[in-house]
């Protein structure tokens, strides 16, 4: 599995230099709206996975990779490890943005952007990590079952109603909406532990599905 992760890092090497300017260009673009900033950073974190998948797909790399002395299970596990690494890395970057902002911004400035306080709070960071992680683990079984093109379309077609319906339902029953809202009810520590446990469980379920799908697929 380690060799597969290192392979992917090598494959992505020509694009490493894009990470910093990419963040500066897109991440900072949303700085005047915390929600946009949040979404931009999620998108950038997800770009790591997507760029890799696109490269693999356009190069027909499945055949090449699985002809190497690795098992298909290893291929899937490596992808999940990378996604986890990307989610953790992106969360750290997100926290660093918050740190920089709080070091350099004046009180007066922060008063104008009250929502930015979430960037440094535990709930805010956990929420960021959860979104990146959950979107990825929801998507990967589609990718491993149907490939990049069909898998992405089916994922988007399936995800949109879930998000819209889920959000509508939560609002309808007046459940706490954000992780910060939940933390106010349950306490920060319990909320974080429950959220991470749920993320781990969903990740595990997603991994099992992906392993099963990929094992049966003809390449």
């Amino acid at each position: 599995m380690k060799a597969l992760v290192l392979k992917d890092l090598r494959v992505l090497r020509p694009w490493w230099w894009l990470i910093v300017p990419g963040h500066m260009l897109f991440g900072s673009n949303g700085i005047f709206s915390p929600q946009t900033f949040f979404a931009m950073n999620v998108a950038l974190a997800w770009a790591f996975t997507v760029i890799l998948l696109i490269i693999e797909w356009t190069q027909d790399a499945d055949r090449f990779t699985t002809s190497l002395p690795v098992s298909r299970d290893d291929v899937v596990r490596a992808r999940y490890a990378e996604v986890l690494g990307a989610a953790v890395g992106a969360t750290i970057v997100y926290a660093l943005y918050g740190r920089v902002l709080f070091v350099f911004a004046t009180e007066r400035l922060l008063e104008r952007w009250p929502d930015t306080r979430g960037w440094e709070s535990v709930e805010g960071l956990v929420a960021f990590f959860l979104v990146v992680w959950l979107v990825s683990v929801a998507y990967l079984p589609f990718f491993f079952r149907w490939g990049l093109a069909k898998g992405t379309w089916l994922f988007l077609a399936g995800l949109a109603p879930v998000i819209v319906g889920g959000a509508a339902f939560i609002r309808w029953v007046s459940l706490p909406w954000t992780l910060a809202d939940v933390a106010e009810v349950m306490g920060t520590a319990v909320t974080v532990v429950v959220a991470l446990a749920l993320a781990a469980a969903l990740g595990w379920l997603s991994l099992c599905l992906s392993v099963r799908f990929y094992d049966r697929r003809d390449l």
Partner: protein, 291 residues
């Protein structure tokens, strides 16, 4: 000694295409050519051996082991060149070598460097800038640099110029001289087979029509050409394919001497070439009529 590769009753259904009951062995230290027209199932078979495609029936054993049960470790002993011979074309030759080498405990960097020089591959050039022939060379260098005992090549010579094809075939012939390396290569180019294959497997519409020693085919099989009246006499021979021609009938038979005895001067009986076998094996006169 275990066969390098042994397929028994392998089957795969894929829409309208079906691979049926494919069985053959690849003895260690020999070159086997897998030959057949487009759509015969050559690439599917290569993919099944590499476990890229899952067979619906039958078994594949590599070096005596089930190819699925111990897939990863068996693949460390297999070198492959797919019909698209390389991957990650944005990397330089040297970088791709490092990437592939990291997967093999037996990777020999010195061999990689030496072969890169021998094949005149520019190590700093991006793979995408290489010609098809150069990519095949690179695929072969990658396959050889981890001391593979079984080389599986899917139509490696397609699209190559005659000079490089000859060079590649000579290289493959040289490889098996150690007695431990075996080669399975699929092709439609019969001169390649004639030049280097020890064994041949003829596939047509997903079925093996012949599997055996290439020289047996060339030495013993015959083509009989004659008027329509020879049709009934052919029944006395082991006929492997027939077709109607403007002159009458053309038939592929297994026994040259028997054909000469039966027909004497009434029909032309000649040694079958691989071209004849390719054209006639499995063909029927009914089929000709339909087409």
């Amino acid at each position: 000694m275990d066969s390098a590769l042994e397929l028994t009753g392998v089957g795969k259904c894929w829409g309208e295409f079906a691979l049926r009951d494919v069985s053959f062995q690849l003895p260690p230290g020999y070159i086997t050519g897998l030959v057949g027209p487009n759509g015969a199932g050559k690439t599917t078979l290569v993919k099944i051996v590499l476990d890229l495609v899952r067979a619906d029936a039958g078994s594949v054993r590599v070096f005596g082991h089930d190819h699925r049960a111990d897939g990863a470790s068996l693949r460390s002993r297999i070198g492959f060149v797919h019909d698209r011979p390389t991957c990650y074309d944005h990397l330089a030759v040297q970088q791709l070598g490092a990437l592939v080498g990291s997967f093999y405990a037996t990777w020999d960097e010195e061999t990689f460097q030496r072969l890169t020089r021998e094949f005149e591959l520019p190590s700093r050039r991006r793979v995408s800038a290489l010609s098809r022939g150069m990519k095949v060379k690179l695929g072969l260098v990658l396959a050889l640099s981890h001391r593979a005992e079984l080389l599986i090549l899917d139509e490696p010579t397609t699209g190559l110029d005659p000079v490089f094809r000859r060079e590649l075939l000579e290289r493959l012939s040289g490889l098996i001289s150690d007695g431990r390396t075996s080669v399975l290569f699929s092709t439609q180019i019969l001169t390649d087979l004639e030049r280097i294959a020890d064994f041949v497997v003829f596939l047509r519409r997903g079925e093996v029509l012949y599997e055996g020693v290439k020289d047996d085919l060339v030495d013993r099989w015959a083509v009989v050409r004659g008027g329509p009246e020879i049709g009934s006499e052919l029944e006395a021979l082991s006929v492997r394919g027939t077709r109607d021609t403007q002159m009458g009938i053309e038939a592929l038979v297994e026994d040259l001497e028997a054909a000469r005895r039966i027909f004497g001067e009434r029909a032309v009986v000649e040694h079958a070439t691989l071209d004849d076998v390719f054209l006639l094996l499995g063909a029927t006169r009914d089929e000709e009529g339909r087409s």
